[in-house]
């Protein structure tokens, strides 16, 4: 059902897209935002982020966007694309579907 859409997303991809969903951002801000957003449960290392951004760009889920005036020119800005938004929504639906399937089963008592 979700396989054709490139799902599931890795945890890193999921959080990067989630950060970019609200506003374009640069790499360092993404790292910090992901840590805050996940209550420090998810930390994205520099190597992981660099390769993840490259992969997401290649898949067309994010794109480069001009940096605001006065920003550090070394820091590239990224924005989520329409395709990225769609994949993120599908991933959230997939996770909800899984949780809905699991919850009633987990509420019942185990027989052995």
């Amino acid at each position: 059902m979700f396989v054709d859409e490139g799902l599931p997303l890795t945890e890193g991809f999921f959080y990067i897209l989630l950060v970019l969903y609200s506003a374009p951002s640069h790499g360092y801000a993404i790292m910090q935002h992901v840590e805050r957003m996940s209550d420090n449960h998810v930390r994205i290392g520099a190597g992981t982020l660099y390769t993840a951004l490259g992969t997401l760009l290649k898949k067309g889920l994010i794109q480069s966007t001009p940096a605001p005036e006065g920003a550090d020119p070394r820091r590239k800005m990224y924005a989520i694309t329409e395709a990225g938004q769609s994949v993120l929504r599908s991933e959230v639906e997939r996770l909800k579907h899984m949780a809905r399937t699991a919850e009633p089963i987990l509420r019942t008592e185990r027989r052995f």
Partner: protein, 180 residues
């Protein structure tokens, strides 16, 4: 311990990158800090008041200046000081502390992709060397058949090189599987 910046012999093979990181960390703990990569003889600097933790990242050559600047900026923002590159390996360090976050690759997928890049690079080198060895043997047998059987040091060199590369290919394959 030497008290001035110096070069010291430092040989490691691609599949020993974790051991090399450990070695650099241990040297730094003893006050000898890796300063600049160099083929066989990188530069070290003594400073008993500092201690660093080192990490190596394999990256194929980045195509544009912007890509290089962005790559280094990402690491710099994460607290890593860039120390240079050698044979595709990028050297970074940050001041040591017990709480320092030192993982460059933080999820299973990116670790797996990273090993895949290293694996592919060793595979390409192995194929090229195999081709060159085969070409050299064939050429020598055709052009100078009376010489080729006496060129055993050369064959020994090729055999050693190919066996080492094959071993490296196998070791990285194991690490790749271990990260899956």
């Amino acid at each position: 311990m030497e008290h001035v910046a110096h070069r010291r012999l430092d040989i490691w093979l691609t599949w020993q990158h974790e051991r090399e990181e450990c070695r650099l960390d241990q040297l730094s703990e003893r006050g000898v800090h890796f300063e600049k990569p160099g083929f066989l003889f990188p530069r070290f600097h003594p400073d008993s008041g500092a201690r660093y933790v080192y990490r190596l990242d394999y990256q194929p050559p980045l195509r544009t200046r912007d890509a290089v600047a962005e790559y280094r900026a990402l690491f710099a923002d994460a607290g890593w000081e860039y120390k240079g590159r050698c044979q595709g390996w990028q050297y970074f360090r940050k001041p040591w502390s017990p709480q320092a976050v030192v993982d460059v690759y933080t999820d299973r997928q990116s670790v797996r992709n990273w090993y895949r890049r290293i694996h592919r690079m060793i595979g390409v080198v192995l194929l090229v060397e195999l081709f060159l060895a085969g070409y050299e043997v064939g050429l020598m047998r055709a052009v100078a058949p009376h010489v080729w059987r006496w060129a055993w040091p050369l064959w020994g060199f090729w055999a050693g090189l190919l066996v080492t590369l094959g071993y490296g290919f196998f070791k990285i394959q194991q690490k790749r599987r271990g990260s899956a």
